[in-house]
């Protein structure tokens, strides 16, 4: 998995590409978790180019979600591909997450 970060105002945008699975999810959780160390972090993870998520990926997302809650941060995903969205739905993750259709929506919501 390839991970890039951008800063848009006070929001970190993480652009992930590839598979979020047993090979990549620990590094993903660690790298993205590091962005939640600021005070009042705002984090948007763009999943437009993530085409594959396994339970290891779900574990990473849950870790990030728990950390964001613990530090009172804002954490959202955007641009989920349909098969990835299905996995989040089946696992009961969707109600716990803030999911935006596209990056501009996520950025607008996190700026507010």
């Amino acid at each position: 998995m390839d991970i890039q970060e951008e800063r848009v105002g006070d929001t970190y945008v993480v652009i992930a590409k590839g598979r979020l699975d047993s090979s990549s999810s620990a590094a993903f959780a660690e790298r993205v978790g590091g962005l939640l160390n600021d005070a009042n972090p705002r984090l948007l993870v763009d999943f437009a180019e993530v085409d594959f998520v396994t339970s290891a990926g779900l574990r990473a997302v849950l870790l990030l979600l728990k950390k964001a809650k613990a530090v009172n941060g804002a954490f959202a995903l955007c641009s989920l591909q349909a098969p990835v969205r299905e996995i989040l739905d089946i696992s009961g993750f969707t109600p716990m997450l803030t999911i935006h259709a596209a990056r501009p929506d996520g950025l607008a919501a996190l700026k507010a």
């Binding site: 047993s22 090979s23 594959f52 396994t54 339970s55 849950l62 728990k66 809650k69 996995i87 089946i90």
Partner: protein, 141 residues
């Protein structure tokens, strides 16, 4: 022609396995959703064998075949006996704070397969599954 592979449950081998499975699914014109779910099922099963079985040093044998209505898979391994059909589901309605980390792999396998069977014979475990395909859709749908 079915896909047959032997794989150790190491990150590199699993990565290569996923590439191979996705390529095979595309060659066989399986729709994206089915291809994704088949690859996920295989990865979850192999990763599970790596942590609880013994497939870090003894490879698992994987066979996938694409039929008109479904993709069928078999995984044979020589690790400890483990009937994945008998594991309780996690509670997926818990709030964030109470959701435990982990435990979703076999749950996803059970949810995504149309059929799932386990048997053990002569020290070999056989896990077989089927995933119903969507027909008449483009591979990219």
């Amino acid at each position: 022609m079915p896909l047959e592979m032997e794989v150790l449950a190491t990150p590199e081998a699993i990565d290569a396995l996923m590439d191979r499975i996705m390529g095979f699914m595309q060659d066989e014109r399986v729709d994206q959703r089915t291809a994704h779910n088949v690859a996920l099922i295989v990865e979850e099963l192999v990763v599970n064998l790596g942590s609880h079985g013994s497939c870090r040093d003894r490879p698992a044998k994987i066979k996938l075949s694409v039929e008109p209505g479904s993709v069928n898979g078999e995984i044979r391994d020589s690790g400890p006996a483990f009937d994945l059909t008998k594991v309780a589901d996690p509670d997926i309605n818990l709030p964030v704070e109470d959701r435990p980390i982990g435990g979703l792999g076999l749950f996803l396998v059970r949810k995504l397969t149309t059929s799932l069977q386990y048997s053990q014979l002569n020290g070999e475990n056989l896990t077989s599954f089927a995933v119903t395909r969507r027909l008449g859709v483009d591979v990219k749908d």
